[in-house]
Symmetry: D4
Subunit: 253 residues, 8 copies
């Protein structure tokens, strides 16, 4: 509730257009819904353009379905990430048409949601083993309305694979770069293009990758200025950051 | 050198418009300059809209001046960060009109560079002690052509300070959020707005902040989807990431 | 055995009221019981108002039952935490009326224990995935005689969910705040209320949460003054800290 | 602004007792003051019983004095922690009667503030080298209105020093336990008493203390149930936590 | 594509020997092959003497077989490491003559590849538990054309076992030293011989080995000058480093 | 082979008592045996009073039995630690009379080995969950010829349990103190007794114990002077350290 | 006060030999002395054979002298470690005959203390840069009554330096091994001798030594069974551990 | 002393060509020299082709000069690294012709040492701030007889700077790659060439470089197979590793 809305509401109240009790009710009618085990933030669609996304880890199938029902009732769509097999089964049983990505561990109901962009977002991965994170990012982006382009397995150890795609990369409006092991790819991509680069470290690698810590630190220390980083294996977060760029960075949002 | 440029060059060569030797020369004439102790990437202005920025840490005053001279000769401007007092004195002696920010440890020559945006970028800090990082970010943004708005000392322990600025924050096209200690501010800001949020952890805090590690981890784990993070105390990096958003994320860059 | 008790005992001995051997016996009769594989501290009820709690992790079902028997014989009640399924089965077989919380992994026998407070303790969680820790805290609190109020899934990414409960939170005498990921919630709660806030980091989150380390550091660095912290996922410890506040911080204990 | 206050305000508005514009003004009149380089939270006295405390680290003397002036104007008192020598000199020059503690690095103006408790708070330290943290805690407690009792250099390597003070410790309503090196003291104290125990790790120790990390981990893992922990060397935070217990945990706050 | 090749190509183009379009095609015909889920770097054989090695972790059996097919088609051989049981079965089904090492988790097709050296490379292990890493290193070396000598279980706690092999070690041209726990063996070997020593830490050990971190740090800090280190448990990487020494460090490669 | 032995051998050779070839043979006849997959250090009995102990982790049953056979052939006894169930079965099948401790994961053949001490070594544990480590220590000690006394579950949260055993502890010649969680017990024991105290951290505890790191750091920072520490969960190592004290620290070993 | 002493005291009291008040006084007369800023444990000489040692770090000169006076009054000797220059000057001014070791940063007054052993304790260092730690250990040992033998700069990179001293090392009753960098020396020494080996990591080394962490982990993971470890750079602690072995591990202490 | 030498010596002794005492003397005449504060390993020249290098950190000027004198007496040359200003002055005073590199902190006396290679070793750095490490490497290489080629400031953020030097890099026999921040350069170089690549992380960078840890982990996880790594900032170690390759990896060393 921002200042302008408050002023309007107060004026209406002062004018007697609505009663004080109704005004309180409206203000108090919080834009969220309590399920006891969860408090759904329905207002998020207004603030950020997409409804609250369901983080599936640690939620049982029953809870998952209930939360998804409440969200889809209002928003006409939902996205659930980190869904394990039992959760996937429960969601598919309830929504046979839901979009399921087993590698990316996502389930989504896209609804009537219009396509906001195609090919503006590029998802680049260093190796084949980074695929699950790339799939989570791609599915999330799609749910937000952006159909991504893909470039796979172009790690820096064979730099010519990446360089041959330079012109293509320069056409992107935002790039998600996913890499495990040395995590060096975002630095090279960041040096080749001017658009926002969102780096995602993955937990792929030998012992001293320490489950992605090595790639994370590499990316935070990228010598290419202006590369920003999200959490390890967090394809969803990268897609959300990309959606912020594509939808909400215009001059008059 | 992308494929199209290469095709053009090859055609000219095949047509005899330029000799093979000249073509090689042109291709080989790398868009950088070697000073022995440094290799300046003059091509960066073309790729990313601003010339190579001088990272002052560990460079002696003589090197600093020489590098700044070569860059300003071509680009008409320069930005140097992490400049210590002796470096600052040397740069000021050479360019008396240079812009010096002692708190932010920057020296810049803005030249004829046009203003690209005003107020599109907001810089928000959690506490007064985060000021040096905010100054580095602000000076860097200005050098890139973006005049930032500022919101200072609005940490989450007194959440009403931030909430009263919600409407203002919602007018931003990109927000840099700077916080030390618990680093919680970007999560709240990220939940209030839809635009890109770039989080900068600072090394401010008591013992277990571990020189900014605590705030860094907080931000990487932000429960607000799509917050992305740069290195500890890296105000410059945040400004560069913001410039990528403001300048290079449009549909037809 | 404090100085006053010792003085009394010595006076009785000097007066011949009890023999030296009996005095030694009484002093030596340590207020604990040795089972070989365990040494039960029966005196704890006297010192801290509740009997020794059984930490179930790594104990086999037989040991669990024996320890619970010895404690309940003297105290009329017991609380066991971190009990796995086999332990739970064994305790239920022995005490069919025991209170079992599968999510919180606790088994308790509340006995005749009177209710010491209702609604004085609030348990607030940032997300649905923090539920197991909240359940452990709630069951432990109940065993100590305090019936908690609950507020669930009010993380800072949707700050209005929390703010709408401010008045309710200000009625609490002590608040346990449970959060994973960025662990930012206790800072905001700590800024809203004056009462003691006990923060519990959970191991919920993406890669760089490092099994709760991120949330732990956030909470230790809370910019809200006077927030104190217990171990990762330690709902029991938080309840014990809350019980210390509710029962033992009065002027004349 | 809670729901009740809002309801009252809206009723007054609806009744025409105050104009809509005035109501907005009142709501918008945020209980803080912006100094450009700082945003002072004057409302904190209402919420938590003491005004915002000035964290001196990284603030220049001029800023320190200005902030202290604004706070003392409203609250009649101030407390500044982590004040270096130049800051101390500036504050003393402005307030010759200010209370200065060089070891604890605090400067405070106690004003007319009444004494809320004496001897209810105990501050226990493991070694002489922990003194600076103990002094910060003691000065902060005093500023909050609580005069602490002290017990110094009673580390667990000579356990009889502590045990001889058991009766005294049992008279406390809340205990701050400060220890570096192995950080074992809070576990023993926590086992001896029932009241809240707030543990403060210090950065005192040989190499593998890692600047207090060792003691911090010890305390978080305390086998005495219900010990809670604040940041390394954070005497102020411990005092604030103790003040929360002493002032705000009563049944009818 | 290096400068000389480019010059030649341009000259041919200028001379009309090949058309500009064909030249572009040739330059654009990147020496890699895209499978959608993978981008195979066929050029690596030219650059480094052996084809791209397949990192089996996280790849499904179908992908493994496809990638191996494409590589063996061109190179006549392949090496796959970190292959789990299902991958092993799939590869064996497709190439019944493939060389399988269950302990080392490798599958390889050696093809017509000639033996480049025998006994020039020594593989030394500290304990029997380091065997899987040693096997991976040995199989990789063999695939690269080097048949290694072996010295097993000669850790420094019984230093005479190693010393009795000194003369033998001095005949090596490069030595891989594999050790877990304290990781001390490379320091001693490095002091005994003049040839390159490549140290491989393993994740073998008690708790504070932290999955090989202890041995890794030991080796990086080796007091024997010129010992270099590869990743934890990375037998393959050590063999690749050894192959670089044996094949590509000559005066005229 | 020390200088004196060498001198004697050379004198015999010079005198013609033994041939040069035989002398070489004797010197070359290393006191170890190579099994290909292992190199057994038979000389260790001479140097340290007990034969090489078999570290069972990562060894397959066949190897375990072979190594145990070779050691027992020469030494008449063996000790294997960290033996999993399959290894245990294989060793029991071969030596039906072997001593098996399932909790401590050890298998041993004590042979004719005489008892060197009884009750000189005390093993003290903080909690019941530390039992597996205590069992490994006890079995190892027994194999070395020392029958330990035991004191279980006497952690510092109930300090009277430990203090009541002070006189008993003071009779020990060396004490192994085993603790997880806060790891505080060795500091208190170290302050009560003058004899060597060997601290063993265990991986028992809540999240921020970080698998024993917390207890390890506590013990390394023990404020009781002269406490020394072995690896996490390393009961065997503690017993070996104790055996060094009991057998090899006398004036004329 | 142990059980036997208590029994005797009670019997005397019961017999009227001493009054109850006097008995209380004697029991209450704690064997320590409070200086306000310190609590000296005079009883330590009885328990452990040497008086409390003064840890100089963070103590001002005045406190140092006062504490040393109180200890030397009762014990006739003192040892202060980690004494900075100002402390050293103050102690020398008060005790001109005190023994000062600038490299080891110790000041000691040996008094009439008899020599307990000579040459039973060996101190071995890996490099010249480890000297300060070795000096602290040697001075501490001397203060405890043990004159150490020394072996310097015999790190494992030139293993023959150590091996040539094997016979000498085998004459020791306890060995302190001090090493930075790879910390490998204790593993080799531990394999050569049977007596107790106390390892001291030092903070000497290049970047990834992480101020001694690397050497610490190496030593904790020593593959030589029964090596125990003290804190980084803690020469004093090693000497105290050695003194426990030499003085208090006999059969009838 | 290897087996063959021993056999020869024994035969001579048996034949009476040399006396037993002389044989002992020769064997016992250890190839090192004890200075009390140091034990110089003169034999290292024989084993590894260059005399022991003096690690200057923590050594006083007098010791430095003495050690350098003893080494140069035998070897005719010396190399000292990590020499601070006072050490440098002392060495220059003693050897006015010594080669001093202030940036690399080395002092060396090259003597008559012949040049073993020129241009076979390449030293590549990512940024100007990495220069001190590059200088240490270059000076060390020169002292070992190898004159390096240099390529400076070619970090991956401007990848064309590096690629334009590909042909040059392919002429190297061994390459040292030095990089701070993201440490990504060795992965790209390692993919471009077949020769051995030795990676050196530097401590250059913003906060989360953690003094070089980030670059170290990147390099250990390099996706270019066969890159090996030395310690942070250890230019000397890299040169020593390169010298091992250039001098001791031939077929008949």
């Amino acid at each position: 509730v921002n200042r302008d809305e408050l002023l309007a509401l107060l004026r209406q109240t002062a004018a007697g257009d609505i009663s004080a009790a109704a005004a309180v009710e409206r203000l108090a009618h919080a834009p969220f819904e309590s399920l006891g085990f969860a408090t759904i933030d329905h207002h998020r669609t207004v603030r950020q353009g997409f409804p609250e996304v369901i983080y599936g880890a640690g939620k049982n199938p029953g809870h998952l379905v209930t939360i998804a029902e409440r969200i889809s009732e209002r928003a006409g769509s939902f996205l659930a990430t980190r869904v394990d097999e039992s959760g996937r089964a429960a969601l598919e049983a309830r929504w046979p048409d839901a979009r399921v990505n087993a590698i990316g561990r996502t389930v989504s109901l896209l609804g009537e949601r219009r396509l906001l962009s195609r090919g503006a977002l590029h998802i680049v991965t260093a190796g084949t083993s980074d695929l699950p994170v790339a799939e989570e990012a791609a599915e999330s982006a799609l749910a937000f309305g952006h159909e991504p382009s893909r470039l796979t397995d172009v790690g820096v150890a064979g730099i010519h694979r990446l360089l041959s795609a330079t012109a293509e990369l320069r056409r992107a409006r935002v790039i998600i770069v996913i890499a495990g092991m040395d995590g060096a790819l975002p630095s090279v991509v960041g040096g080749l293009v001017g658009c926002p680069v969102i780096a995602v470290p993955t937990s792929v690698g030998y012992g001293a990758s320490f489950d992605g810590l090595a790639a994370l630190l590499t990316m935070l220390n990228s010598c290419a200025a202006g590369v920003s980083v999200v959490n390890i294996d967090n394809g969803f977060g990268a897609a959300a950051a990309a959606a912020r760029v594509l939808e909400h960075s215009g001059a008059n949002p």
